[in-house]
Symmetry: C2
């Protein structure tokens, strides 16, 4: 009957060990090493089988680490967004997406762990990741705010493919669906399309299936982002050029930070 935050001395120690496992794993990953139970255990001054007191198997540990990496990455996205005022969710979104790209390119293995792992065939734990992704909630939260503050053109429910309609009415994506009226749920389809575009171009860049010079110049990413302004109702003057300028500024900022 003890909740996850039980105050027993035992529980606290256990929680601390959990945290150390994850942080050790992340450190190991950041240093270019492979993510292995034995390596984690060794660095913690522990033997590998001991980890099985905390994790059922290797995949569960990977999922745990992936979730935490996603959470940490989200704070970076939020920091980028925070450079723009709270009453400018569109500007914040643009900054966040640029941060997403630069994080992914700088940490390809972490990106692969979180976003390029098959989740369909995996256990329920991983399936939950579809709806519990921290970064997803953050991005979708910004989209929701844009929707509430300036509106986003979207198809009516009966214009949608039946299966898509079912998906937006009972959404399986990281979003607080109660923030959007059922009648307006068509906007979730726009959100999904936007996510697809961002995910697609970043994955292509991270995996390098494209001319390196095009990746380096961020031209493909810029083009993909621009292509999503009209469907989000953000292309009209003066908003469109303003957001394009913000994107260019964020990309330049990151380029200056790199070398």
């Amino acid at each position: 009957m003890t909740s996850s935050t039980a105050s027993g001395r035992r529980e606290r120690q256990r929680e601390a060990t959990y945290a150390e496992i994850v942080s050790t794993a992340r450190a190991l990953l950041a240093e270019g090493g492979e993510l292995s139970l034995r390596a984690i255990a060794q660095r913690m001054g522990i033997t590998a089988p001991a980890l099985y007191r905390y994790v059922a198997n290797y995949q569960e540990l990977v999922d745990l680490v992936a979730f935490e990496i996603d959470k940490a990455a989200t704070t970076r996205f939020a920091e980028a967004a925070a450079r723009y005022p709270d009453d400018d969710p569109a500007g914040q979104l643009v900054a966040a997406t640029a941060a997403f790209r630069s994080w992914a390119l700088a940490n390809p293995r972490e990106f692969g762990l979180v976003f390029a792992n098959p989740i369909a065939d995996s256990s329920c734990v991983r399936r939950d990741l579809l709806t519990s992704a921290t970064s997803g909630h953050f991005m979708n939260g910004l989209l929701v705010r844009i929707f509430h503050e300036r509106g986003i053109p979207h198809p009516a429910l009966d214009e949608l493919d039946p299966e898509v309609r079912a998906a937006v009415l009972d959404p399986l994506i990281p979003i607080d669906a109660s923030a959007i009226d059922e009648a307006d749920r068509g906007v979730l389809w726009i959100f999904m399309r936007a996510w697809q575009t961002l995910y697609g171009v970043v994955t292509l860049e991270v995996f390098g299936h494209m001319d390196p010079r095009v990746i380096e110049s961020a031209a493909m990413f810029t083009a993909a982002m621009h292509s999503q302004l009209p469907p989000l109702g953000l292309d009209a003057e003066p908003e469109g050029p303003r957001l394009q300028a913000i994107l260019a500024a964020e990309l330049a900022r990151e380029a200056a930070q790199k070398p």
Copy 2:
């Protein structure tokens, strides 16, 4: 000084063993097993170290297998395209892209091997894969034919980002650049954008980072494909609706074949 097709008895045997290695690996992969040197060797009635007479290391074998998988997949794309007349490259392209998607969803591991493996940090062998991908040549070949037969609107060279301009003038993508005048090389940028869209949506679907119902219905894929018709100059009446109908027909065809 012997070329790769030397006619010595020795060379022929060696070539045959190479082929057997790859085919064994593909069979193993198709049966759901992991791709390991030992498993391949065992199935060939050989010990694992013997494989090192043919392959420098594991990654090289993976690359070899990936290349062959790509080649085999391309014949499937070509078969789909062949259902449409040769003077209809646009229809062939639509059919090929639908085949690409259905192949990827049906063979996620093969897809991951070929298209979701990092190639930036790898050896030169893998970097060659950027320009030698069989499937890439096939798809780009269809795009080139569309360009020659009906034209594709494209930016002039001086409208392009400098790095993109360099990339289209000395292309590092699977295409026969000599088929396109230097002055028209801006169309390669359109090709790259089209590839990005196809790659992005299919990768998203294969990795399952989206509501399963949306994947199942192919709605996201359809939307992504439709979005690429205007930039390819294929959206005008009656060509646009015709191609959309072809896409729908191909998707329905595959759906009927599945269960």
